[in-house]
């Protein structure tokens, strides 16, 4: 369980989150929506302890992580698999080496075993043909898929965290990523997907959190979200209505 208790956060003088509170179970499928600069990505960064809140508590599995040191945060981070926007692949390593990174770092697997595991993971995300490519040779969609494969190799995560997984992708690639996100959440592993694309969020999520002005203005299920009357949410929903009309 992830619990945010009156969490506030600022970048310098810019207040991004104000007394934000929510709780999310590890098996939930949640979309965090909102405009640019509303603090969506910051919430993901706070969950894995990449940044610390100015005030409030963040409790993961009963442990308050707000004041934990970098060393203490390492085991906690292994509960999550965070896929950054644009993939954040190591650009000096090939696709194969990117996926093998954590296997080499944390396991005593032989090179043959690593190679088999890497090929298996690349097959799951549908890019096994790109094993020897360098990151700059990949398209946007392949980038994200390799990044997902790499995060799967890192650990057996209890929850996936996706930061704008479909932004900048064409509809076909965006749909592939959405299907992959759903596929990976099958074994009772939930996810939080941060996005500003309502159509993609509706494809994969059950619960919707909407941020505006650093606070949560909506937290509920998909059907309630579609009926929301708040003008800011309505603006976002126009994307879906225009798409279906």
């Amino acid at each position: 369980m992830i619990l945010f208790d009156k969490v506030s956060f600022s970048y310098g003088s810019l207040r991004v989150l104000r007394d934000v509170s929510f709780s999310i179970g590890f098996n939930e499928r949640v979309a965090i929506l909102g405009g640019s600069g509303e603090g969506k990505t910051t919430i993901l960064r706070l969950i894995v302890g990449l940044v610390k809140p100015d005030s409030g508590r963040i409790i993961i599995d009963g442990e308050d992580i707000s004041e934990k040191s970098e060393d203490d945060l390492r085991p906690l981070r292994m509960k999550f698999s965070l896929v950054f926007q644009e993939g954040a692949l190591f650009d000096s390593l090939s696709v194969k080496e990117n996926v093998a990174f954590c296997l080499r770092e944390y396991t005593k697997m032989s090179e043959e075993e690593i190679d088999l595991k890497v090929r298996d993971l690349l097959r799951i995300v549908g890019v096994e043909h790109a094993a020897d490519f360098m990151p700059e040779e990949l398209s946007g969609g392949m980038h994200r898929r390799v990044s997902i494969a790499r995060s799967l190799a890192a650990c057996e995560p209890r929850m996936f965290l996706y930061d704008e997984p479909t932004s900048g992708l064409d509809p076909v690639n965006a749909d592939t990523i959405c299907r992959l996100i759903l596929e990976l959440s099958r074994r009772d592993r939930g996810f939080i997907v941060v996005t500003h694309k309502v159509s993609d969020a509706l494809k994969v999520s059950q619960r919707f959190i909407f941020l505006k002005g650093g606070t949560i203005i909506f937290d509920g299920a998909g059907d309630e979200f579609l009926r929301a009357v708040d003008p800011d949410i309505a603006l976002f929903l126009n994307e879906v209505r225009l798409g279906t009309s």
Binding site: V48, L50, E70, R77, L82, F84, D91, Y106, A154
Partner: protein
């Protein structure tokens, strides 16, 4: 910049410098990364060090020969070239070239990794960026800059030899024997210590500046420029301070 931010930055720099160095004696060891950095810093910098050192040696020898000839002291060319190159010019020139090529590369590479969330990815995977990124760069600088300095010194002396013998028509034997006489412990020690200090300074400054990159392409340009400028200034300042200390410790009278 306000005082609070300045102190905070200095504290972060101090922590990076200490933890980066301490990483060399604490597991895990990233041998592959260290060797890659050594290859980039050492083998990659060799051609430019050779060219720069050769011309510095020739220019120095030319200047000295012209001046000493007027005083009838041309036979001291080797001695002065030797002292200047071994104690002063060799380490400083190698460090400046190293900053321009390797230091700028470190800052921009790490800056790009920060902007592309690659450093955050390392942290999420439980990898200490200090050990994975900073320690190999410090280690490679501590090994490769002294090595490059020694090679650069030798090439500078060769450049000086060429001018002394083929342009100024002096005796080659006299040139080398006067240099050999200057290869005493005090001179060699003074020249050998500096590259270690310079290498450590360059790696720490450039890694710190690279890892503090914020704000897109403009931020990357700013941090790379700051890394190079700060390193150059610190090399020159450290050179003066070290020279003063070494002259005192090694018993040279001024």
């Amino acid at each position: 910049m306000d005082i609070k931010a300045l102190i905070s930055n200095l504290q972060d720099f101090y922590v990076l410098s200490i933890r980066g160095l301490a990483g060399m004696v604490r597991r895990p060891f990233y041998w592959r990364d260290t060797l890659e950095q050594m290859d980039y810093a050492g083998a990659g910098s060799l051609p430019i060090i050779l060219i720069v050192s050769l011309f510095v040696g020739m220019a120095l020898s030319l200047q000295l020969t012209a001046e000493l000839a007027r005083l009838g002291l041309k036979m001291y060319t080797g001695k002065i070239v030797g002292i200047s190159v071994i104690r002063e010019l060799g380490p400083v020139v190698a460090a400046l070239v190293f900053t321009g090529r390797v230091g700028a590369g470190m800052a921009s590479e790490l800056g790009l990794m920060v902007l592309g969330h690659q450093v955050d990815t390392l942290r999420v995977f439980g990898v200490d960026p200090m050990k994975k990124l900073v320690t190999p760069r410090i280690a490679s600088s501590l090994v490769m800059l002294p090595a490059l300095t020694i090679i650069g010194d030798a090439v500078s002396l060769l450049g000086g030899y060429y001018i002394a013998v083929f342009v100024s028509h002096q005796s080659g034997t006299l040139y080398w024997s006067s240099i050999r006489r200057e290869l005493i412990f005090e001179n060699v020690f003074a020249g050998a210590l500096k590259p270690f200090i310079f290498g450590y300074l360059i790696a720490c400054i450039c890694c710190y500046t690279g890892l503090s990159t914020r704000g897109g392409a403009r931020g990357l340009r700013r941090s790379t420029t700051r890394a190079v400028v700060t390193s150059i200034v610190m090399i020159i300042v450290a050179d003066f301070v070290l020279t003063r200390i070494l002259l005192y410790v090694l018993g040279f009278s001024i």
